[in-house]
Structures are given as structure tokens and as C-alpha cells.
């Protein structure tokens, strides 16, 4: 029987694309119909539609599919393990005493946002390179300081991401693929360097972290035989109600639970150990950077696969949002303007006080947690101003722009489906669905710090540029 004859005999199941009244008429007749939440592909721009079409040509599409399959396999199979802590100067590739790493795509001092400038000057004082903030600003502008994105040094940094030579770093090793990722230690929340605050209390905390917390963690990890399997821990944290970007209550508990017996074996005094435990206890954010390093470690293993349209980096420097795509190897950034973050603010602050979206922490969404795993964290809903259904729908929606689900990291409320994994620039272009990012809000001026938290999205320009560049590279 021909397919047309089969249709004549079947009940209709209609997909309606366009005018909603046609759906309503089918419903009036008690028919089966699904109305698409359709938007013009490529935002309706002819050159983007042409590029998307070009990427759909059979032979090219097949190459991309194969490459993307490999890329997401590498993300899923990565096994990032926390193996130690050490100072940046000792471990981070390319680090020098006058290097300042920052979040997001490359940026020069004169263009930096308020919070990033605040963090840079604070770091220069902390490093002893300047005696005060004014002198630090002069030094930063002098050309003697090397500014470079964290991402270009196997690192990620929260918010301003400012990382200087003597700061202590997580060392996370990918047991499957061998690559290593680094990230700073959490200063906890609010008035802290990475949010742009930089007064003497901020610098004093950094000094304590350099002289007590960091070395103690470094010594503690030496007692760990196999390191700490972060992905196992992440899976548990998700099941305990964290999305591991804005909410880290469970993850922090798990991490300190693993570290405590190791810390107790170190030679530090009880008073010092108590200081460390108090420090961890004063905020749930202690494990926040740890997950970022895990994500970076997994995504780096998937970067540089020829023909792959999978996003391996989303990062913001407070002025620009940048993405990197696996098949565009090395440090090819696709950039658009950083967006506003919408969410509740601390008492006394207003939306116009907000700095623009900043930080490498969107690496968590790039991996599939944070905003992508919002369904794991109903308790966070208040923070993003919605209902539990909204939270779940964020996670469900992200599957429309991703390639697979990571069966190693699952979401109980979604029937244990895996987290949405492998953002595909083509799917973003086709659907105009933007990745959702949970993030903190820093004050726009230097020296103040965190003033709220909420959600944001990348600018469409990053994806548009990436699609155009990709289409050109595949056809040249």
C-alpha cells in the first residue's frame, strides 16, 4: 500500500507549523495536533539560513554528525579527578609573576568592566606588585602586565576570573584522556575579589587563603591515594538537589566530607584547621569552582575535533561573551556583547547597579549542569523567579539544542534522564533557543562585589558568527 493510501486509512497526527488557528480547528474536530514553538531559523537572516542549509548537505552533515558523536562521547566519558592543589605559578601553563588571567575572551585593560578592573587592581596589590589600588591601576595600564584569558591556560575563573601567580589552584586530571584543568579556590560570596571588591579585608582573605587554606589543601590531597572522583560526586550532588552553578549546598558538603579526613592528617594546628572548616561552613559556594574545573577538564578533551559543531566554551569578560567550538581548534573565539543578568538583588541594590554578565562559570552550562540541570534543583527556583515547572522546562528545552544526554549525570525529577550534553551551534541557529545560564550578578563599579544572582543567555551573535565561519570552512 502506498504511503498516501496508508494516510487515508490512518488517524491524522498533525504537526502544525505556523498559524495557530489551524491547530485550534483541528482541536475543535477532536483531532491530534502538536503546535510547534517555531521561530525562523537563523533569526530569519538569509545568509544564516543559507549557511545552515549548507551545513545540512548530506555529505557535510554526515561528517559533522560523526565528529559530534566523537565530541560528546569524550565529554560523557571524561573522568575528571581532583588530584591536588598548588600555586598557579607552579602548575598553570604559561603563568608568570606578572601574568593576570581573566575570565572570558581576550580583553585589554582599557576595555575591562568595572568588576574586572577592581579584581585586577586588587590582585596586583595582593601580589605585592603595587602598594595600593591607584598604583595598581597605573601598573595595569603600563603594559608591563600580561593579561590573558583563563581558558587559554587550561583554567577557568569565576566572575572576573582574575588569577595571579601565587593564588592556589585546584588541579583536576582527566583520567580518561589525560588532560588537566585548573581553577582558583572559592573566596566564598559577596565582597570578594572575583566580584570586583578589593579593599584590605579582601586582600587579607586572599593572603590567608595563600598561606593557610591553600597549603593545607595541598598537603591534605597528598594523603589521597586516587584523588577525588569529581564526576561521581557531581552526580550525587545533583541527586541531592544542586545544579552545581548557583546552588552548591550538597556538593560543598560532599566535597568537605571527602577532604576532612585528609585535612585532619596534615601537620597544621587545630586552630588553623578550625579556621578552614569555619571558612567552608560560612558559605555553600566552596565547591563552586571545583565543578567548573571538572567541566573544563571534560570539555577540553572534546575540543579540536575536526568538523565538530559542539560548543566547548562559553565565557564572558563582563564586556563580551565568547564561545569556542570544537571544530574551530585553538583559541578561535566567536564574540558578542555581554548581556544583562535578570534576577533578585541584595537589599539596597537596583538592576541599574548590575554589571554585565561575567565569568567563566558558564562552563557548567556548556557541560550540561547549572541552568541546563535546573530541574535537579527545585530549591533554586526562587532565585530565577519561576515555578518548579519552569525549572524543569529549562532542562527539557535545553535538549533541543544539545546532542545527547550524559547517562553518567542524571536528573531524578526528569525520570533520571541524563543532563543535556553537547550544545550544537547548528541547533541553536535552527531553533533560536539560547542556552540558559544561572549566574551571579556583580556590581558594575569596581570595589563593591556581588549584588544578586539570576539567569541570562548568550548573545545570538556568537552563534551566528560561528555558524557562518563553520559553513565557510566546510565549503572551502
Amino acid at each position: 500500500m502506498s504511503r498516501i493510501n496508508e494516510l487515508f486509512k490512518s488517524e491524522l497526527h498533525v504537526i502544525n507549523v505556523g498559524l495557530e488557528m489551524f491547530k485550534d480547528d483541528i482541536l475543535k474536530q477532536k483531532g491530534n495536533v502538536t503546535h510547534l514553538e517555531w521561530k525562523p531559523p537563523g533569526g530569519g537572516k538569509p545568509e544564516l539560513i543559507a549557511a545552515l542549509d549548507a551545513l545540512e548537505q548530506e555529505e557535510i552533515a554526515a561528517k559533522i554528525e560523526a565528529a559530534n558523536k566523537l565530541a560528546v562521547e569524550r565529554i560523557v566519558n571524561s573522568q575528571p579527578v581532583l588530584v591536588g592543589f598548588d600555586q598557579a605559578i607552579n602548575v598553570v601553563p604559561g603563568m608568570t609573576k606578572t601574568t593576570i588571567l581573566h575570565a572570558g575572551p581576550p580583553i585589554t585593560w582599557d576595555k575591562m568592566s568595572g568588576p574586572m578592573k577592581g579584581a585586577v587592581t586588587g590582585a596586583l596589590v595582593f601580589e605585592g606588585l603595587a602598594k595600593d589600588l591607584d598604583e595598581a591601576a597605573e601598573l595595569a595600564a603600563s603594559g608591563e602586565i600580561t593579561f590573558s584569558p583563563c581558558h587559554e591556560h587550561n583554567c577557568v575563573g569565576s566572575m572576573a576570573g582574575v588569577t595571579s601567580a601565587s593564588m592556589f589552584m585546584h588541579i583536576v586530571e582527566n583520567k580518561t584522556y589525560g588532560n588537566i584543568a585548573y581553577t582558583n579556590l572559592s573566596e566564598q560570596l559577596s565582597k570578594i575579589l572575583r566580584m570586583g571588591a578589593n579593599d584590605e579585608t579582601v586582600v587579607a582573605r586572599l593572603i590567608w587563603m595563600r598561606d593557610v587554606l591553600g597549603p593545607m589543601l595541598r598537603e591534605a590531597m597528598k594523603f589521597s591515594e586516587n584523588g577525588i572522583d569529581l564526576r561521581l560526586m557531581l552526580s550525587q550532588a545533583l541527586h541531592m538537589g544542586d545544579e552545581c552553578h548557583n546552588r552548591n549546598n550538597a556538593g560543598t558538603t560532599l566535597l568537605i566530607q571527602a577532604l576532612t579526613p585528609l585535612i585532619l592528617r596534615t601537620d597544621y594546628t587545630n586552630e588553623q584547621k578550625i579556621e578552614v572548616f569555619d571558612f567552608v561552613a560560612m558559605s555553600d559556594y566552596f565547591s563552586g569552582p571545583t565543578w567548573m574545573a571538572l567541566c573544563k577538564c571534560a570539555l577540553d578533551a572534546a575540543h579540536g575535533i575536526e568538523h565538530s559543531t559542539i560548543v566547548t566554551t562559553m565565557a564572558r569578560n563582563g564586556v563580551e561573551f565568547g564561545i569556542r567550538v570544537s571544530g574551530m581548534p585553538g583559541n578561535t573565539w566567536f564574540i558578542g556583547p555581554a548581556q544583562k543578568v535578570v534576577g533578585p538583588m541584595f537589599a539596597g541594590y537596583k538592576p541599574e547597579d548590575s554589571g554585565l554578565d561575567i565569568g567563566d562559570s558558564a562552563i557548567t552550562e556548556t557541560y550540561g549542569i547549572g541552568g541546563f540541570a535546573m530541574a535537579t534543583a527545585p530549591a533554586i527556583v526562587a532565585l530565577v523567579g519561576g515555578t518548579v515547572d519552569d525549572a524543569m522546562n529549562y532542562s527539557v528545552k535545553m535538549k533541543e539544542i544539545t546532542t545527547t544526554e550524559n547517562p553518567n549525570v542524571t536528573i531524578p525529577l526528569l525520570n533520571f534522564r541524563g543532563i543535556p550534553t553537547g550544545i550544537d551551534i547548528r541547533k541553536v541557529g535552527q531553533t533560536s533557543i539560547m542556552p540558559v545560564i544561572n549566574t551571579a550578578i556583580a556590581h558594575k563599579d569596581p570595589g563593591i562585589g556581588m549584588i544578586g544572582a539570576g539567569i541570562t543567555h548568550p548573545p545570538i551573535e556568537c552563534f551566528e558568527q560561528a555558524i557562518l565561519a563553520f559553513s565557510q570552512s566546510m565549503h572551502s
Partner: protein, 514 residues
Amino acid sequence: MSTKIVIKRNTYFDSVSLMSLSTKANQIEGVEQAFIAMATQMNKEVLANVGLITPELEEAKNSDLMIVIKAASPELAEVALEAIEELFIKKDSAVGGTELKYPTIESAVKNMTAANLAVISVNGSFAAREARKALENNLHVMMFSDNVSVEDEIELKKIAHERGLLMMGPDCGTAIIGNMALCFANKVRKGNIGIVGASGTGSQEISVRIHDFGGGISQLIGTGGRDLSERVGGVMMLDVMKALNEDEATKVIVLISKPPAKSVEQKVLNEIKNMHKPVVVCFIGGTEEAVLEAGGHFAKTTKEAALKAVILSGIDESQIDKHSLNLPLIEEIKVKLKPEQKYIRGLFCGGTLCDEAMYLAMEKYDDVYSNIPKDPEYQLGDIHISQAHTFIDFGDDGFTNGKPHPMIDPSSRIARFKQEAKDPAVGVIIMDFVLGYGSHEDPVGVMVPAIIEAKQAAEQEGRHLEIVGYVLGTDLDTPSVQEQLDKLVSAGVTYASSNTNAGLLARGFVEKGV
């Protein structure tokens, strides 16, 4: 007894999920014992206790997943393993009682395996792309969108033909499949007459007449207006003819089109020779000989087509109310019109309805102009200014560019009506009112104030303005045809029982002399 061991390296599942999987796995036929767990020390001890531990399992790490199956035979163990692998695959399900929504055809198809048809009405510059995706996903397509290039239409119909799928449109406004009306269509009785039309309102008109004559529709398939053009070549009409020929529910087939390209008309007529069911052909302006030669039944008008189809479908002719033309009325009106009131002005929403009335006028008069004439000599210089007998299709691009179809938005027709009503050379204005799914909820009602005003103005000038209205609809439509007719009558409009009769009445009213 056979034991199968699989270790999935570096694969994490939480213990609760795994316990539930284990429980299900133990129910799989042939499974003596199934054990699915992460390779933790504790789980390995459990395995040791039941005597299932091996050195391989002993070496597995915390982050590895262990699957151990004890079954009656290696084959059964293999089958059970496959069944267990299935258990790991999860399907989408709605969460929190909210409806699942999809942004693309691919994602909808992936999650709705029953999907079989896409209705596409997005802007023409995007429509072809969506249709291609639908066809590639083995969906039949009804493309309502217009402004799609003929090149795209040819390519889409080629894909559809190769895959055995329907590609209705572009610019396809009507279909009834399995009694489900899509886009613009009327509520008609289910029956044994299949319609395939390269004409939207023409198909609707025939379906409504068939219903009125007591018959019913098995399928109504619109092909899009260009299907019978030289370049498209009638691909879809030919495919649908074959399908209707095989369709058990269909006994009689009706073909309807605006004037087709000659070579394509011939192709379609040739196909009739291969068919074992009676085929009624209504190609507006077509010739009888060619149809009869092909073994088809010729119908000059839509009404005739419906009537022939109904009789062929087995309804007793003597039981049919044929609504014969009201000849005394023609004489009555002729007397009312002044000598200078010579012309018909047809203001139509439906292209084929316009065409049909126009062809009927052309049989009597030479000076018939239109925005959609077959002969370019009779193309209106300015579509906004009538000359002599003028028939306007308000559904044509010149009027719809950037505006909804006149079946939804009557504003441009109302304005034109007011203009025509003032013209002392006008004897009769003829208008169609289309009911049904997709159409305006009260097409007569929105026109009535203008009609009353115009008639009064004409009267004050000592002139009779004759208005003929035709309501395309059935007693099952909302609003019903009767409700709309009542409104026409109360406004002093003469109504016709079919589009054909409307055309015949109009041309009769303005006939001079004799």
C-alpha cells in the same frame, strides 16, 4: 546454566535507579538472576556472597557499572542482556503536567512517533525549508504558505513523489483527510466521493454541493494552484488520482481545477484511462470531447460536477433537489434595471468561484475583464478600477500582498463594493461568502451594513442595485449556511443556491434586449 558479565567502564548510575533496573531485569524471561550495580566494594561483596564474583569483577572500579546475568543458556543470557540495555533507554515524558513543546519538526517527530502530516503556514521565505524537513522525516505535507518559488515546489514535489508522500501546495488552502478538515474546509458528510483539486474554493464548492445533494466525501486533497501548470506538470494530482483509485472508501473521483496547461491536462486525462473508477472532470473552461475521449465524465460547472458525482456514487437522481435556476426571477429583475445598467461586477474571495462565474459570463459577453483573466487582453489595466464586466479575485497576490486572505479579512472587498455600488453602469454585483474552518466567523454580517447603505443610496438616485450573494457552506458549518442566508435576505440580497447558479443569475439579470 550460563553467566554473562558486562562491565561498562566509567559509567555512573545512582543506586536507586540501579535497584529498580535490577528488579525489572530479574523479571525478564530466561533470567535466573540479574545483578546491575556500580562496582563498589560493598556491591562486590554482595556478588561474592552469591558466588558470582570473578577476578574481572573484582578489578572493576567504583565508577564502573557491572551487569551480571545468570540465565539458562548463553543465548538466553544474550537476549536478556539486550533487554537490559533497553531498560537504560529512557523516553521523554511530560513533566509537571505541562504540554511538551517542540521548536523543530525533527524534534517533534523524534518524540511523536505517530506524527504523519505537517501543516505549514509560515512565511513563504521559510516554508520550503520546513516542508523539506517534514518530507525528509516521512511526513505528508500540506503547505498553506504562498510566495514559494516554483523551483522549490518542483523540488519538493519530486521528493514527495519519490517517497510516496503527499505534497499539497504551496498555496494549498483545503483538504479533508479521513473526515478531518484542514485549513479552509467545510464540515461535510463522510461518504464515498474523493476530490482532488488544484483549486481551493473550487474543491470546497464541490464538497459542499455534494453534501447538499445528499452525498459525502471520502478524501478531499488540494494540490495547490500551480500543480497543473506546465512546469510542475501535475505531479501531485497524478499521485493522488492513483491513490484514490486504490482507496477502498472512494467510489467516485472528482477532479477540479482552474484552466490547466494543455499538455498537463492531457497527462491527467490519460491517467483516467488507467483508472477503474468513474472520474468526473471539472476543469473550468475545459472541453467536453477530450474528457469523454479519456473515458471521464465531463462537467462544465462545479454544480454539474457535484451532481454527476453524487449520481455516480449511487444516490437516486429522482431524490435529489437540484435547485434549478429561478427563471421567473431573472425576468423580474431584468425589468427593474435601467438600460445603462449593463454590467456585472463580481467581487470574490474564492479564485475558482470567480473563474467559474466569469466563464459563464464569457459565454454571453465579449467584454469580460479581470485581475485573473486567462487571456491577457482582458487583464485590467488597474486592478482597482473596473471596466465593463469585471470579475475580481481578492485572493490573488495583488490584493493579499502583506495582508491576510479575504476569507479572513474582508476589508479590501468592502471598500471595493462601495466603489462598485456607485457606478451607474453596474446592474448586478455578485459576491461569494465562504464559511467553514479557517474562514471569517461571520462573512455576511461584516458586509451587510455596506450593502444596506449602498442599496438605499441607489434607490435615492432612482436606480435598482441588484446584489447576488452566494454562501459557500453547509448546515453543519459554524455559522450555518441558513443563518448567513437569513442575513442576506434581510439586507435585500438575492441569494443563489450554488456558485454556478449565482453566475447564471448574474449574467441573466443584465441581459438586454431579447
